[in-house]
Amino acid sequence: MSTKSAQPHLLTCARFALAFAVLPLGKGSTLEPAGLAADRVATLFWVLTIGATVIWLVVVGLALYAVSASRRPQSPRGSSLLIVGGGVIFPTVVLAGLLVWSLSMLPGLLAPAPAGSLEVRVTGYQWWWRVEYLGAEGATIELANELHLPVGEPVELQLESHDVIHSFWVPALGGKMDMIPGRRTRLRLEPTQVGVYRGVCAEYCGTSHALMSLVVVVEERQAWERWLAAQAQPATSPGEALFLEQGCGACHTIRGTAADGALGPDLTHVGSRASVGAGVIEADVPGLEQWLAKTAHLKPGVLMPSFGMLPPPELTALAQYLAGLR
């Protein structure tokens, strides 16, 4: 009896496991800017769009007029005026103006955050983000796929890559910057509104490029400080024996336990994050259970092996342990 009733459930599970899942994690549009850089570029976009629409209407209008039957043929002198005026003078003036205006934005967009600003190192991996808050005396607080920022303050990001080229992009906060192996690039963000924003990898980086999301939580300074202090603590959840027994610690670190692997994401406070798998599934007990059992289905090409062979009770216990790491 019980097997029969379980069948539809299994079917849904199978279907779910085949479909690709990406969580809608926060706002991710450049047209609803919540950061200084994104705001400037959005203004630029609207001006350019309106200008381009007007120019397009005029040029296509001219072409349609030129092919219409009800008009007098233009004189050679008129042709020359049209070619020089429309093809040379007009674009030169407009483009020069646009260049001066848009390039004057560059210094502001490229300037590093002032000394003493918050510094975070983000390292791209296939297909997740290692996030390290750099303390004053070399101490770092590490997590993965999630970035918390205080509102209204500039932050300096140091961008690196562990393997292939990735590109760090939080559309609502500002432009993107590539993460290139062997180089360190940098990006300054300055969020202006509290909220949750979606970040993505913008450079094609292999099989699961589409499944490489980042959650950016922008909050008031006090809330952010509380969060950071909590993140700095070692893990407090019991039940780590199973985690270690399964060898998870070879790749993952949970500070305060014997797990100190560096290949995969730091899981010290994984239960406090919005998702696991860089935006693939919720970091709650059911989500973690799915992730552990069907890792390769949820994220094609992922390095982590699936743990679907574990008996269900153990899977649940492991998921409960991880979800409890808040």
């Binding site: 030129a66 050679p76 042709s79 483009l95 390039l103 180089r183």
Partner: protein, 845 residues
């Protein structure tokens, strides 16, 4: 003027003679029949195959696009797996670029240019056939891989280290070797087009009378010669890294992934204009015809096309705005990128001015032209937006860019090409396409296109990156993507209508009238249906629109009152004229049907294909076989000793049959080819200096380098052999056989010794190419030079043998002239290599 242009014969030749002439011409130019048909080399056959195959690849890549649109129709869709989706977008982009856009340009040009120039054929028909066969073999190999789940999946841009270290399997090798093979073929076709446009124009077609299509083709072909070598050089580096672990792009051993991006976009940006300019060239032919007036601003258009070509080589960094470059670079390249809008604008305003100057006759080609203009202008305007670095920080690598470049490429290439299809179809098939189907197809394509690509601008700005196989629900992307998918199928329906119009049976349809659109340019003198001879007699031209301006032109051509109205010797012939003034210089004998181009393509393809699978023995065997085939081809098919010194080509003009040096088309072909070759070499040298700018310590002070002694010895020996080759040509000219044999023989010995000395440099100091990028680069430059010297040795031995067999003589020495020209370039390569590897470390330290 002493040499005033001759006028056509005042009297028509007797009818009897006209018929006999026509019969001889027809027999000489007839395509082979039966299974021998595939040995044809004439442009009327090869051009047609070329166009058909390119169009089939277009349909294939289009189907892949539909698969992608199905996958993206809704969030979380599982129609394609992530792996298959990644292969699909890689193959879609690569096939559209390398197997459709470039080949269709060369195919249309090979087909139409001889007609526009009133030439019987372009100067190297077998080279064009070789280019086609390489394209077909390489194309099948590349696109077939996706059916075995083995297709490349690194994107058409193939960025390392993803493609160098993180994608095992042969997908990336297929891409690198397959496309290098096809690019070599594309350069071969470009050489044919450039030399054809420069040297095979009809008498009197001075440089200011050249049809605009031919101008654009020349610009496009010259761009291929300079743009493809960076990609070939980059592909070589990447394939060597994949196959032999030389770390050009591996940051842990001094390499840098950004070198690939520079080389790739140094090709990739001009590529866009190589696609755009020859397509716009079709517009430049169509617009005057339907406006019924000559094009307004001819000189403006020519200068703008050349200017666009030049500028396009200075824009590549705008694909790299987000790689962390300094602000000054961003500013400079933003300025250059927006500047290219000016010559583009000039061209479009010339077309509008022309339409305005005339009375426009409505037609299907004009419909596609106007639609293309509306689409392209929008793509150009969004192009200005992404050219501005601050906006690009947001738009780069999103669907905004996908929308932008599809507006540019489909508006700037597909619409004009379909306009050209409806316009030129009668020239090829002798029948008109359907006005009704053409109009229906237009509206389907135009509406479907806008529904597909307009929403992509918005989905990109709403945070949808490129190359993602899925996207989150409820993020404002669902409806936009569904619209794009629906639009894509409407667009595909329109293309299907065009396809049906082309392939539908037309037996019952009557043959199109001659010059059905009332055009003024020379290609429309063609009979309906067309004859294989290209043109009945080669006219004297004194107008840009000879059919409008030169009275009785059709009659005079048809009655054989102009040049070469006959084929008395039973040989294929065409005229060679001077570059600027188009004065007749030579009566060029053209080769006929042959399987050699096909054999050469098969064996050379074998080298690349076996190489992909690391079957080195078979690959080497294929390379040896292809060298053999090419030698047979050269020996039997080129520089044959003429049976007569001169020929009366008609109108009292007597021309030499033979030519050597800059007067010959072969010399120009070698010159253009070597420009491409030396460009690839300069890209490798650029790589060397790129690392000097990237690293504080380069060449690394810890590395001994190749030393000074051996490279200096090599430079001395190779310089001496270059001088001896020059002397050999001089002594051959004076018919001093002994001195000729001696000089070339000693030169060969010096070259063997010089190559050994060059290799001895890095060998003796124990440079290991797998340890660091520096020794890898030294070995690469040395290897490149030795390879060129080896090819030069084969050429010299060939000349020695030709002279011994009496084919090469004091008076008939074009082979020797071409070999000397090759050696000028090889000397430059050897001198630069030694200066860089031995001299630069002394300066840098």
């Amino acid at each position: 003027m002493i040499d005033a242009d001759p006028t056509p014969l005042a009297e028509a030749p007797p009818l009897e003679l006209q018929r006999a002439q026509a019969e001889r011409l027809r027999r000489v130019w007839a395509a082979p029949t039966g299974w021998r048909y595939w040995s044809a080399v004439n442009n009327t056959q090869v051009g047609l195959w070329y166009i058909a195959v390119a169009f089939i690849f277009f349909l294939f890549a289009g189907v892949l696009a539909l698969l992608m649109r199905i996958q993206l129709a809704r969030p979380g869709n599982d129609f394609l797996s992530a792996e298959l989706y990644n292969q699909t977008f890689t193959v879609h982009g690569s096939v559209m670029m390398f197997l459709f856009a470039i080949p269709i340009f060369e195919a249309i040009a090979v087909t139409l240019m001889p007609q526009m120039l009133g030439a019987r054929d372009l100067p190297f028909p077998r080279l064009a056939a070789f280019g086609f066969w390489c394209f077909l073999i390489g194309g099948l190999f590349l696109s077939g891989a996706i059916f075995f789940d083995a297709a490349p999946r690194g994107g058409w841009f193939m960025y390392p280290p993803l493609t160098s270290r993180y994608q095992p399997g042969i997908g990336a090798d297929i891409w690198l070797l397959g496309f290098s093979f096809i690019e070599v073929a594309a350069i071969a076709s470009a050489v044919e087009l450039i030399v054809g446009a420069l040297k095979c124009r009809p008498p009197g077609m001075r440089i200011n009378l050249i049809p605009l299509y031919v101008w654009y083709t020349m610009v496009g072909a010259v761009m291929i010669v300079f743009a493809f070598p960076p990609l070939i050089a980059g592909s070589m580096l990447l394939e060597i890294e994949r196959a032999f672990d030389w770390p050009f792009f591996d940051a842990t051993r001094g390499g840098d992934p950004l070198l690939w991006q520079h080389l790739f976009w140094l090709f990739g940006h001009p590529e866009v204009y190589i696609i755009f300019l020859p397509s716009i060239a079709l517009v430049a032919m169509i617009v005057p015809t339907f406006a019924r007036v000559p094009l307004r601003g001819y000189t403006w258009v020519v200068l703008a096309a050349i200017g666009t070509g030049f500028l396009s080589f200075g824009l590549w960094v705008h694909h790299m705005y987000t790689t962390g470059l300094p602000g000054i670079s961003l500013g400079l390249f933003s300025a250059a990128s927006t500047a290219v809008a000016i010559p583009t604008g000039v061209q479009f305003f010339c077309f509008i001015a022309t339409l305005w100057a005339g009375r426009v006759k409505r037609s299907v080609p004009m419909l596609w032209v106007i639609g293309g203009l509306a689409v392209f202008v929008l793509g150009g305007l969004t192009g200005v937006m992404v050219a501005l670095a601050p906006f690009d920080f947001q738009a780069h690598d999103t669907h905004f860019v996908v929308g932008h470049f599809h507006f540019v490429l489909i508006g700037g290439a597909i619409f004009p090409i379909i306009a050209g299809l409806y316009y030129f179809y009668p020239l090829v098939a002798g029948k008109l396409l359907s006005q009704k189907l053409g109009t229906v197809a237009f509206w389907l394509v135009f509406v479907g296109f806008n529904i597909t690509f307009m929403p992509m601008h918005l989905s990109g700005l709403r945070g949808m990156p490129r190359r993602v196989f899925t996207y989150p629900p409820e993020s404002g992307l669902d409806a936009l993507n569904l619209a794009s998918t629906i639009g894509a199928f409407i667009l595909a329906a329109g293309i299907a209508v065009v396809l049906w119009d082309v392939v539908r049976p037309k037996k019952a349809q009557r043959v199109a009238p001659r010059d059905p659109w009332g055009a003024g340019t020379l290609e429309w003198v063609q009979e309906m249906p067309g004859e294989d001879w290209g043109i009945r007699s080669i006219p004297e031209i004194d107008s840009r629109y000879p059919l409008w301006d030169q009275p009785h032109l059709l009659r005079d051509i048809d009655e054989g009152r102009f040049y070469l109205p006959d084929a008395q010797e039973g040989l294929r012939e065409t005229l060679v004229t001077s570059v600027i003034d188009a004065k007749p210089l030579q009566c060029l004998r053209l080769p006929g049907p042959s399987y050699l181009p096909l054999a050469a393509a098969l064996t050379l393809g074998g080298f690349f294909i076996f190489g992909t699978f690391h079957l080195w023995a078979l690959a080497t065997g294929s390379l040896v076989a292809s060298t053999g085939v090419i030698c047979v081809w050269l020996w039997t098919g080129t520089a044959a000793k003429p049976t007569q010194a001169t020929k009366d080509v008609g109108l009292g003009v007597v021309l030499p049959i033979d030519a050597a040096g800059p007067a010959s088309v072969g010399w120009w072909a070698v010159f253009v080819t070597m420009l491409a070759d030396v460009t690839a070499f300069i890209c490798l040298v650029f790589g060397y200096f790129f690392f000097w700018t990237v690293h504080d310590d380069f060449p690394p002070s810890s590395s001994p380098g190749p030393g000074v002694l051996w490279p200096t010895v090599a430079a001395a020996l190779l310089s001496a052999s270059w001088l001896l080759t020059l002397l050999a040509r001089r002594w051959n000219g004076r018919d001093r056989a002994g001195a000729f044999y001696g000089a070339l023989g000693v030169a060969v010995l010096f070259e063997v010794a010089g190559s050994a000395a060059l290799l001895a440099g890095p060998w003796s100091s124990g440079l290991q190419p797998t340890t660091h990028v520096y020794p890898a680069l030294v070995w690469l430059l040395v290897g490149w030079t030795v390879l060129h010297v080896a090819v030069g040795v084969v050429m010299q031995l060939y000349c020695l043998l030709r002279r011994a067999r009496g084919v090469l003589t004091a008076g008939h020495d074009l082979d020797l002239h071409n070999v000397v020209l090759y050696w000028h370039f090889t000397f430059f390569t050897a001198a630069t290599t030694t200066a860089v590897i031995a001299g630069f470390p002394l300066v840098a330290r």
